[in-house]
Symmetry: C2
Subunit: 440 residues, 2 copies
């Protein structure tokens, strides 16, 4: 059979990885796929640099549309990123009847509905294993491996930058700002780290997993997104004393009334495997009604781990392109006419438990007032920790930290109670609230 011909749009870090892995493992991949898969054309604004990566045998052009227009190209890989030109080119590639592989989570989380509809209409595949958790085959696990299950929830460490920062904060007892600078120096965080540290990147990925797990459209605009910029080493330490680690999790759950879709820092019991995922590694826990708890762990970013996922998609397309289209794996796991209209719940409707830290005056009756407010709202306390004032503010201190873990409660109710606590004259600073999940 003639080789599958692939056109690559954008040959930066990931693109180079795809080219190099495909070349290095060419024979082995062909022994599996039954056909050769070759990158025969590359588009990049920096033609010279691109040509240096791929050598003389591959045609490099500046204009991506030349790749799309080439009738010899079977599959187009989009590695440009962002919502702008990438969106246009993906839509044009689909219109030209090309299968598409992309690692672009932002594009799919925001414009997925439009893109998948166009692909379905045209009878081509848009594959995106690399868009979530890099080299971990989590899309395949969710769409195919766990297809027997009614998925109950997913919780994932799906941003390596923030997990690296949180690991360092815990290991070294340093605050966020200090570690961020270190992470930037080491290349674990970008010069503009906003998308990572504010949770946006994780929310893109959680949005995609949510759609696949529950058969709902991608709805990034409905996701609750909270980053790690306000976390302090103090809270990480208190959480540790209570037997928890703090991780930035992307969470999606099916509950009565709808779907939860949220990204925020989260206390997780230290004994859970996912609590022990350190550094820039990713891990996703999936709970299914038949299979129970499963976990998938690996590198969530980087040149070759991401390339591993991109190439797996190339092989999948190579296999499935002769299947009649109705038998291919649907883009979002469920057949397009079988999607669910279950709403994404507003954060105020989410039920979870909480870690609260209150800086209070060290005087009689403070705890009674705080506990009274919680009791009035029907919130029960799971654990409590109060430090000696001297340990918090030094000798002669009149302030102390009161740390509470609550049982589950509607977030709207918790917001009301926090407002009431905050109004107490004995509560001296803004209350810290971090959500907590048992993941069991």
């Amino acid at each position: 059979m003639k080789p599958v011909q692939v056109g690559l749009l954008g040959i930066g870090t990931v693109g180079s990885g795809v080219y190099n892995v495909l070349k290095r493992n060419q024979a082995e991949i062909q022994r599996r796929a039954g056909r050769a898969i070759e990158i025969t054309m590359v588009a990049d604004l920096d033609v010279e640099r691109a040509q240096a990566v791929v050598g003389g045998a591959v045609r490099v052009v500046k204009d991506a549309r030349e790749v799309i227009a080439n009738p010899g190209i079977d599959i187009v890989i989009e590695l440009i990123g962002g919502y702008g030109v990438a969106r246009t080119l993906v839509m044009e590639a689909i219109a030209a009847g090309k299968h598409v592989v992309t690692a672009n989570k932002a594009l799919l989380a925001v414009h997925g509905t439009e893109i998948f509809a166009a692909a379905h209409e045209k009878g081509v595949m848009v594959a995106f294993e690399a868009a979530v958790a890099g080299g971990i085959p989590i899309i395949k696990a969710l769409r195919e491996g766990l297809t027997a299950n009614s998925i109950q929830w997913i919780a994932g460490i799906i941003n390596g930058t923030t997990n690296f920062i949180l690991s360092e904060m815990r290991d070294k007892g340093l605050d966020f700002d200090v570690v961020l600078k270190e992470a930037q120096r080491l290349g674990y965080a970008e010069a503009d780290p906003t998308f990572d540290i504010e949770g946006v990147d994780a929310a893109h990925k959680a949005t995609i997993m949510s759609a696949i797990a529950f058969g709902v459209p991608v709805q990034f605009d409905k996701a609750y997104v909270e980053g790690i910029t306000k976390l302090s080493a103090t809270d990480i330490e208190y959480a540790e004393q209570l037997g928890y680690r703090i991780k930035l999790l992307g969470i999606t759950k099916r509950v009565a009334g709808g779907i939860e879709l949220r990204v925020h820092p989260c206390l997780v019991p230290a004994k859970r495997l996912i609590a022990n995922v350190e550094g820039a590694m990713n891990a996703v826990v999936v709970q299914g009604d038949a299979v129970g708890t499963t976990l998938y762990y690996g590198k969530g970013a980087g040149s070759e781990p991401t390339a591993s996922a991109v190439i797996a998609d190339l092989v999948d397309i190579t296999r499935l392109h002769t299947t009649d289209a109705a038998n291919r794996v649907p883009h979002l796991a469920f057949q397009p006419d079988q999607m669910s209209g279950e709403p994404v719940l507003p954060m105020s409707e989410v039920v979870t438990s909480y870690y609260l830290r209150l800086r209070v005056s060290d005087q009689a009756g403070v705890l009674a007032k705080v506990a009274g407010l919680l009791a009035n709202a029907g919130i029960s306390i799971d654990a409590m920790l109060q430090r000696e004032a001297s340990a918090v503010g030094g000798a002669g201190s009149t302030q102390t930290d009161l740390i509470l873990l609550t049982h589950t409660v509607r977030e709207g109710t918790m917001n009301d109670v926090i407002a009431q606590m905050q109004a107490l004259p004995t509560v001296l600073q803004t209350i810290t609230r971090i959500r907590k999940e048992e993941l069991a």
Copy 2:
């Protein structure tokens, strides 16, 4: 489209799970697969019990051949187990042009070559996700998700019974025999636990993973198999003090000269995720050249976790049956005409590191002699631990334990050195040797 009709051979624990999950999640599975998948016929020796499980609407027969001969049946699920009748029936189902799904690792590890050849010849699929690590989609990850990679090694906790026993031995400081009885009482170990505790079950699974990872035939007869029956609480405790946990691992590696395929107890650094997999859970670590380290975790046995994998196979077959056969995922990941002849190495050729425990006389010069024998063989010591004699044998004791961790060495060389050590008059008992892997 008309429903896919499935015939089930053997409706015990796993079979009931398949029936129940398929029924409970019928609508959701159909929304994914695009077609209904129905068990329409069951064969079981105990017709009455089987009929009670599936109710009146499903035809139950005693003779499995009636199911195979039914022209309406598209897929046959074999859940009988063992090498005997199961082998005959699988071969007959293939000959009748049925696709087959099986959870039977013993059958595939021993007779896989014959079975896959027959299936290839006949143009049908034999799917076996449930044969390795139960509900964890590890076969899919290896065959499809990591297809871009040259796999370097796999190490897995792939037998829940033994992991449960080892976890209990560590938690409670108890010896093997005591915990085995407890495990049997709780249903974690069978009345005849030989296949589990002697490592045979794990070796069946490792054999299958080895074939898929490296493109070699299944060669169970070449696997090195050592169980956990000789492990003592003492060694688990010493390992812990040195920063390691002891797990029964199925390991397969590609090295210069061939393939390693072995099951044995193994020290693993306590900080590795897999070292923290407790109870009856399974986990598999896969190292690929592009993706790096990945890990897959979940329930390795049980009715519904195993059913989750069986049903995923049913959906896969439903998808792929219209693909031309050359484009289906090959049974052993590599195209049948592209298998490798790399030999499975004898255990004496395996290179690994070791934990050694020597019960020695507590007198001058013992360590020097032992260290001298290692040095002569070119084996360097990584760590050493010697307990006070009184801590080992009580007050007045003249014996002590000498624990050594070595760097890597050929097993054949280590065998020679152990024989030399054993011959020393100051070595008082049989030397305990446990292999050690860093898994990094």
